[in-house]
Amino acid sequence: MITSKLKEALICFRAGRVTLRYPFEPSVPPEGFRGQPQLDITKCLGCGACSMACPTRCIEVTNEAEQRRMEYCFDRCSYCGECAEACPEGGITMSSEFELATDSVTDLRTVAYLDLVRCESCGEVVGTAREIDKLAQELATKMNVAADSMPWLRWCARCKRESSLATAQVLQPAEAHL
């Protein structure tokens, strides 16, 4: 009994003081920590992949008349890093920032506006200008054509299909199984 208490005392005293005088001294997270996501809006294409991946719906994508509005509500963020993995441009990275307490929830929100491209024939949203430009450039390199020679890039999916169906023979359902 007494030896046991002495052993316990030994454990206690050998450890010394282990708590930090936080917040008077910093607490540094280890390498690879998933803290607040950092945005690099200059890289954002407005594709919304991050929004689709986000389990907590932090990232809201809405289309206005001429612009796409990307709202990053990191007050709801669960720091899973799915958005960073989903972003094709590497525009989101996980920082080591975790001291996010604030008086105003808007401090944790960022809104970005990106120019929209609407379908030249029906006015339906096609994508953001950055998305289309990027696509045009990649296609141009791959297909070895001029970037501005693909007007159909600025058509909506429905109009593209409409035009394809107009020229293609439509199979009846029964034939489709063959």
Partner: protein, 312 residues
């Protein structure tokens, strides 16, 4: 003489009130936190706690001064008891009261806790004050028997006379046993682990104190901290009164008294540290286990008593 009594009394009560939270703060920071391997709160934290509670709104089930009674009674009886403890030869109220009064005052402080518990309708509180009564039944006899042992030794019920006799006659076996038994009971008297059964935060959420808030809670806390000091002082002054410097080193009575006070303070600190260490390294016992323990302590104290009769 009366004026001297009043001034001395006020000064001593003031000192007890001022020092009690300091001892608690020191124990929290230097003993408890150290054993917990953590930084710990500032030494002044108990003062902040008291101040916070004292200025807080006092919520109570019904209006009436009667609800304030237990907390005031508790603190008042402890402070009065402090005036009986022989610090310099004799307690300030040493003329007026003896060991019997001291025992009564200690019992009154326990009665105040029971009263506070009984005033609340909470079942936790009922369990708490029932436990407090049960604990007192086994803890109080230890104090009584220790003091009787000293009284037999000294042939007087006067606490000052006991101290004087012990300091004059040197250590005796009966006195050491009585001191040891008393030391074991201090833990329970001041509601420290492993004997804080009546409060048992994790079981009955503070027991008798569950519905107390603000100033009333502050007074109870203050009373318990002061009680720890008073009991520790009683223990060291009556049972372990050496070394004494009443004769003076260089013939100066004032220097002797100052040295006496310093030594007393150090001894009290040692007792308080022991209490704090025991508190930190034990889990809480169950009521039946705690009572069984104190029955054993009573037995030990009984041996001391018999030895005192025999004269060793």
């Amino acid at each position: 003489m009366t004026v001297w009594l009043v001034v001395g009394g006020v000064v001593q009560v003031g000192l007890v009130l001022l020092l009690a939270p300091l001892f608690e703060g020191l124990m929290r920071k230097l003993v408890r936190a150290r054993i917990h391997s953590r930084e710990g709160p500032p030494i002044w934290q108990p003062y902040y706690d008291l101040f916070k509670l004292l200025v807080k709104e006092d919520t109570q089930p019904a209006a009436g001064w009667v609800y304030l009674l237990p907390s005031v009674l508790c603190l008042a009886s402890v402070l009065t008891a402090s005036l009986l403890v022989p610090l310099f030869g004799r307690g300030i109220l040493g003329e007026q009261g003896d060991a019997i009064l001291f025992i009564y005052l200690m019992a009154a402080s326990v009665a105040a806790v029971v009263l506070a518990g009984a005033m609340s309708g909470s079942p936790y509180s009922s369990v708490g004050f029932a436990r407090e009564i049960m604990m007192t039944l086994t803890v109080e006899p230890v104090l009584i028997m220790a003091l009787i042992t000293a009284a037999i030794d000294a042939g007087s019920l006067d606490l000052g006379a006991m101290a004087a006799w012990h300091s004059a006659h040197g250590p005796s076996l009966s006195m050491l046993i009585a001191a040891f038994a008393l030391l074991l009971s201090v833990q329970a008297q001041v509601g420290k682990l492993p004997f804080d059964v009546p409060e048992a935060d994790q079981e009955i959420m503070g027991g008798p104190f569950i519905e107390l808030s603000g100033p009333k809670l502050a007074l109870f806390k203050w009373a318990f901290w002061a009680k720890q000091l008073v009991l520790a002082a009683l223990l060291v002054q009556v049972f372990v009164p050496w070394p004494t410097f009443t004769l003076g080193l260089a013939g100066s009575a004032a220097l002797g008294a100052a040295l006496c006070a310093l030594v007393a303070l150090v001894k009290v600190l040692v007792v308080v540290v022991v209490v704090a260490v025991v508190d930190a390294v034990n889990p809480r016992l169950r009521l039946d286990q705690a009572m069984a323990y104190f029955v054993a302590v009573i037995f030990v104290a009984g041996i001391g008593l018999i030895l005192a009769f025999v004269g060793t």
